[in-house]
Symmetry: C2
Subunit: 240 residues, 2 copies
DNA sequence: CGCTGCTTTGAAGCCCTTCAAACCAGGTGG
DNA sequence: CCACCTGGTTTGAAGGGCTTCAAAGCAGCG
């Protein structure tokens, strides 16, 4: 059920049988959610975190003027609000982009893990630090990259992260969100994102259509984005 | 010596004598660094983290075209690369903005803490999650706020964070960096930042001059920035 | 006293936004 | 089975915020 999460951990660290049991034992109720549903509201005290079993989520903040900025996109196997274990409440909200299933992980169980399993604790800590690394890369995009580079970079990131959980290959992946939602990740208007996607299409790099990204030239897409996957820490932790 | 770091922890959590001893025992060599010196290079494997005793640091990434984006500014008492404990190498570099003193904290000591002191481990984990929260708020600035709002927001953030360690009050704080460096935080050109600072000055909100920020109207500055300090998690962890 | 690095100002240009409307696909009901 | 509606996509035209390029101003220092 949470194979994706385990696969993601095993990519970087071995998991002992005991640690795997602890993770499985920490999993509580599973909930199915429709698309575009906010299920964690900023500022609300939380007593459990969640694992995303399948679907796609967004961390976002609303602005006073009604604008919205998505600060992170989550894919299967992510722990979208693991950080609420230490933060107690979140500075942002969490919504589904697509229909999703999430599993609840009570903070009490996480606390037990921190008391008994330091290695697993560090693996979980790593997961939140990886999120932070992705936040930093988005800062680079938002601060310095042009519109076309931002769009290309996010598509490269999603391709790389989805590939880890077997939901993407070099030819593309499912991305059943609207251009408006995509633009909320990039700090751009939907209108301009539409033009940029046309440019990427006409350059033969990739096509975002009908809820799917079809990549014509992954190397070219990565080159225009200046994409370097180092910030995703895809290598094993012990030899990094 | 690391009073600032302890003060920052105590703001949110109590520290037992044992925990304080563990922190002090983890501190190793202290190093003094000149301004504008990169002492952690991206991609290099690290065996220790650092605590910033005094001074100001920046996390940054260089772009292919020579541009630079600062993704985080650190003040006294911060653990600027605590996340290298789980990440092993960093996706970004770390430089001094001002002359600084840092203390090295070997990862081996941190590992001992994770084995023996789950509560202190969670406090350290929190520190890295707070950094991530600040990264998210910078994404909001870079993605959605206007130039004047970005500048005002960063000044508000620094005021609030420096106040915690006794280096700022409502009337201002020392900020001995150049406008060019400030602009590298904001994703703007130095020229435009200069104009924006003039606007803030002429509005009577604040003045950034001679390495010092003098705040004329903190409430007004916060209003123009739409600054909400919730993301800084300044309250106690047990009652949040 | 002139060098150096930072700040400030001006003018022109461009990337992206804003506003507006047409287009298109899928679903619903007559 | 087509008319209609709705939400998303696409295109056009005008405008604005920020960048770029250029140069002057200014303070600290050898």
């Amino acid at each position: 059920m949470i194979e994706a999460a385990l696969a993601k951990i095993r990519l970087r660290d071995d998991l002992s049988a005991e640690e795997e049991t602890a993770i499985l034992g920490a999993i509580g109720e599973v909930v199915s959610l429709p698309a575009r549903h906010t299920f964690v509201h900023r500022g609300v005290r939380l007593s459990y975190s969640t694992v995303l079993i399948d679907g796609m989520l967004a961390r976002y903040k609303d602005m006073a003027d009604g604008q919205r900025q998505i600060t992170h996109v989550h894919v299967s196997g992510d722990f979208p609000d693991l950080h609420s274990f230490t933060l107690k409440y979140l500075d942002h909200s969490l919504m589904t982009l697509t229909p999703s299933r999430i599993a609840k992980v009570p903070h009490a169980r996480l606390e037990e893990i921190t008391k008994k399993m330091p290695r697993l604790t560090r693996i979980l800590w790593f997961a939140t630090n990886l999120d932070a690394s992705i936040h930093r890369e988005w800062e680079i995009s938002l601060g310095r990259r042009t519109a076309i580079q931002r769009a290309a970079h996010l598509l490269c990131e999603l391709q790389a992260r989805l590939q880890v959980v077997g939901q993407a290959d070099a030819s593309g992946f499912a991305l059943p969100i609207t251009q408006a939602e995509f633009s909320e990740c990039l700090g751009l208007t939907p209108v301009h994102v539409n033009r940029v996607l046309r440019d990427l299409r006409e350059a033969g790099l990739c096509e975002f259509r009908g809820g799917r990204v079809s990549i014509g030239d992954l190397a070219g897409l990565r080159a225009t984005a200046e994409f370097d996957p180092a910030y995703l820490y895809l290598g094993r932790r012990d030899e990094a």
